[in-house]
């Protein structure tokens, strides 16, 4: 199974132009609210008609739906150029709404069976029974949606979608309405379910943790455009744009001037931080040109005063003062100022585990040494 599309849509003060090509993977479409995530799903499923573009579902990679219900080759379900527009009901796209959209006048079983057509009773019972088991809905078969918990509703909705043997699965912020603990558990469930039914899946989220946990590949969307589509490691550690860096929680993003190139390294000058070394990025780089560079706050080690400086930490060693600390439950964020850039300089944010924070007696006003380890610094051209 596969999915390939390119859709364009103009709305008041917003334009969307998104194209992606997927295999039978679980892909996360990640971006801030209003970036066009849900709109993209709606255009793939046919709920919203694109102004321009195409949607291909299938691609002939695998053997049809979850229940072996056909699925020969790729199908073009939308194409503005040739006027193809397959109605929603014939696209076989599984769609999970943010609030699940369970039919309130039907029981769990009736909801799950709703989309299954033309099966003899025995086979129907078999399939529905299997889904009830996989989704851990035993004992709830006769309940109405109003009598279910959030997690049970979500699993019922997922079962209802899977029952129709969809060729792609579109999940619109499926965990946003759930409590933290339930969310944790259901994310794990979803991974398992995707293993059982390896259907091309797009999961939309604005939750960073969720994106990292679930996406083999992540597409970062902003203002209707894909800014980066790559493996999750690339998105997290090698962001292609400042926006991506910002969205994935790279809280240290600076601008600097290229002071020189030294073999595999580039030396960058920043008024607050001074000179630092970073791995040289691919692409053209000239001395004197302006670049952005970034480092994740949890990748910056604090260097204890008594530690001898080996080659690893001697490079990019920064000395400064803690100007602020904020606790976040399991970690503390330190705001460090070098004092070089004056009052306007952006502080370096360093995230340390609580035990380190306590052990080193870190506090506001204390001097500190940190290392912007060369291999953790990433240059954005």
């Amino acid at each position: 199974m596969s999915l390939e599309f390119n859709v364009k849509k103009r709305l008041d003060g917003f334009s969307l132009d998104v194209g992606l090509k997927l295999t039978d993977e679980l892909m996360v479409l990640f971006g801030p609210s209003g970036a066009g995530k849900s709109l993209t799903l709606k255009m793939i499923s046919g709920l919203v008609r694109p102004d321009e573009g195409f949607v291909d579902i299938g691609g002939g990679l695998g053997g049809g739906g979850a229940w072996g219900a056909g699925g020969a080759g790729g199908t073009r379900v939308f194409d503005s150029a040739s006027g193809v527009n397959v109605p929603i009901r014939k696209r076989r796209t599984g769609y999970l709404f943010q609030d699940y959209a369970l039919f309130p006048h039907m029981t769990v079983i009736e909801n799950i069976s709703y989309g299954i057509n033309g099966l003899e009773a025995g086979r129907l019972r078999e399939i529905v029974g299997e889904l009830v088991r996989v989704m851990r809905l035993e004992g709830l078969e006769k309940r109405y949606p109003a009598e279910l918990s959030g997690g049970q509703k979500q699993r019922t909705a997922l079962a209802r979608t899977l029952a129709t043997g969809p060729r792609v699965l579109l999940l619109d912020e499926p965990f946003s309405a759930l409590d933290y603990q339930v969310r944790e558990k259901l994310r794990g469930d979803l991974k398992k379910i995707h293993g059982l039914f390896p259907i091309t899946t797009i999961l939309v989220t604005h939750d960073l943790e969720e994106a990292f946990m679930l996406g083999t590949r992540i597409a970062v969307i902003n203002e209707g455009r894909i800014e980066q589509f790559s493996s999750r490691e690339d998105v997290f550690y090698r962001p292609r744009t400042r926006n991506v860096a910002r969205f994935v929680g790279t809280r240290n993003i600076f601008t600097g001037t290229v002071a020189g190139i030294d073999g595999p390294d580039v030396v960058i000058e920043n008024p607050d931080i001074g000179r630092i070394r970073a791995p040289r990025p691919t692409g053209e780089l000239k001395a004197g040109s302006e670049v952005s560079f970034c480092i994740r706050p949890e990748e910056i080690p604090v260097i204890r005063p008594e530690r001898t400086l080996d080659a690893k930490v001697r490079v990019n060693l920064i000395e400064g003062e803690i100007t602020e600390t904020t606790g976040k439950g399991t970690t503390h964020t330190l705001f460090i100022s070098t004092g070089k850039g004056g009052a306007g300089g952006a502080p370096i944010k360093v995230e340390v585990p609580n035990f380190v924070f306590k052990k080193l007696g870190l506090a506001k006003g204390k001097p500190i040494r940190v290392s912007l380890k060369k291999e953790s610094v990433w240059v954005i051209l």
Binding site: F97, A101, R160, T161, T164
Partner: protein
């Protein structure tokens, strides 16, 4: 006492309600789910019978269905259907004045069915008709039934427009409200009291039952 007015009123009101439901569901669906140019004007037009004087409404209907109009002549000459000064005239008057009372709750109920639910049904492979039959109408049925009951109640009480279109021919077009008027005019207080009691008990029961009914689970 003559019981014909009671029988006629029930017959006229039931017929009017059936037509009101058939027309009203379609109108309510369109008004609830489609956007089109002039929707507000159409809405104002549909709701007119609630606000214009019944005599004005009756006059309009006379003009549209009378022998001198194209429609009236067509119905009479080609189909052999006479409207004015027959019990059918009373049905038309009752239908037009009760239609808005059906459409209002029916439309609200259909609008109350989330669009996501209908979309979910489409995504699960259902045709528009199947969506209507299995999702929209089952979820909106309380509002639709409430609309039907309101329409029926309104039809039984219709006076002004009915008098204009159907007249008050005893034994042919004299409905219950007109019979009450007639009885009072004639000084027949006993008949008037009995008929008034019947209407009052009926109207109260209808509103009470609608209230019970529309306190729904969904």
């Amino acid at each position: 006492m003559e019981l014909f007015p009671l029988y006629l009123t029930i017959k006229v009101s039931l017929t009017a309600t059936v037509f009101a439901a058939a027309i009203g569901i379609v109108v309510a669906l369109v008004m609830a789910r489609r956007d089109f140019f002039g929707k507000n004007a159409v809405d104002a037009l549909i709701m007119q019978p609630l606000v214009i004087p019944p005599t004005v409404l009756g006059y309009y209907l006379l003009t549209v269905f009378g022998r001198s109009s194209f429609l009236g002549r067509f119905l009479e000459d080609s189909l052999g259907v006479e409207i004015v000064f027959t019990w059918r005239g009373a049905v038309v008057a009752a239908l037009v004045s009760s239609l808005p009372l059906f459409i209002k709750p029916a439309r609200a109920a259909i609008e109350g069915v989330g669009k996501d639910l209908e979309d979910a049904a489409r995504l699960l492979g259902k045709t528009e008709f199947q969506v209507l039959r299995t999702v929209t109408l089952p979820l909106a049925w309380r509002g639709i039934v409430a609309g039907g009951v309101m329409a029926f109640a309104r039809a039984t009480g219709e006076f002004g427009a009915t008098l204009m279109v159907a007249g008050s021919i005893p034994g042919r077009t004299m409905t219950l409200p007109i019979a009450i008027y007639d009885a009072v005019q004639m000084g027949d207080n006993l008949t008037a009291n009995i008929l008034v009691l019947i209407i009052t008990v009926f109207s109260f029961s209808v509103l009470y039952l609608v209230g019970l009914f529309t306190r729904g689970r969904f």
